[in-house]
Symmetry: C2
């Protein structure tokens, strides 16, 4: 498994090494182009974003055989755990804006993985369910997602991954 | 200061409360619509993304008086800390794709905050500098960014913010 997150010691003159998930060629360029972080070094959002991007890149790469992106995966898991709930509830839980969720659900429906049924008594509202095909696809998707998560545990160290998870969950 | 991140205890049947930065109306809807997280609960990327979104929302809200977004702010700080470096170096350090960076720099140039000078001996390469106006704007921008960071320390707790920062920096 390709572990591309680079562990670095904290230092008073931190520099930034570019794309966390870039390959050897980019790493060589980094060497020539090291930049000072300046006041970015004091912003949690910057470091959150960097790790989040690296993690999403690996997820997308690992899930490529099933062509599933992080938001699609989240929606599939939430529908699985909450069959029959509304589009609005799923969108709100994941903080996905209405139009974007509609497009995303359209794609999942087109692949035969989910179905939308009109909710009783409200023509505008739809309840979401996995199809039999969706359940079968999800078995393969979860196996790839587990591989991604194992990569992450390897890249961060299992203990650090859990510590980070605990800290983030307190506010999740 | 409006602290909207909700601290929650870990529990075996975790639910998800929707947009971390949503207001009271959304919170009321959440109450009616609580969803189970299902296997999302085991994915670090999900929790990273949630906090990152909440942090970026507050940043955008707090920086609204200067109409500055996170990526613009990062670029301004990197140019400040590394005057004269190339567009390619800045883009790579921040993992911003070439076309998007070009648009972003165009906006900053239009506001009179940065200038691009052709680098010696290479007509295709540009060196980036803050203008005098950019330096002045950055004083006000940093004051707002400090307010955002204070909100975050308040929302997460100072110690937890630092712990999270340390963990993230090890891989940054």
């Amino acid at each position: 498994m390709d572990v591309r997150l680079k562990r670095r010691r904290a230092s008073p003159n931190r520099t930034v090494e570019g794309d966390l998930s870039a390959g050897p060629a980019a790493a060589a360029l980094d060497q020539a182009e090291k930049l000072k972080l300046g006041e970015l070094d004091g912003h949690l959002g910057y470091f959150l974003r960097r790790l989040q991007i690296a993690v999403f890149k690996d997820f997308i790469r690992t899930l490529a055989p099933m062509d599933v992106r992080p938001a699609q995966y989240s929606v599939l898991l939430l529908i699985e755990a909450n069959p029959g709930r509304s589009q609005a509830a799923i969108g709100q839980a994941l903080d996905i804006e209405r139009a974007r969720l509609a497009r995303l659900l359209h794609v999942l429906e087109g692949r035969g993985w989910i179905e939308r049924r009109a909710a009783d008594g409200d023509g505008r509202s739809h309840s979401l369910y996995l199809t039999r095909g969706g359940e079968k696809a999800l078995v393969r998707i979860k196996a790839l997602a587990a591989r991604h998560e194992a990569w992450l545990a390897d890249a961060l160290g299992s203990k650090r991954r859990l510590l980070l998870m605990d800290l983030l969950k307190e506010f999740g």
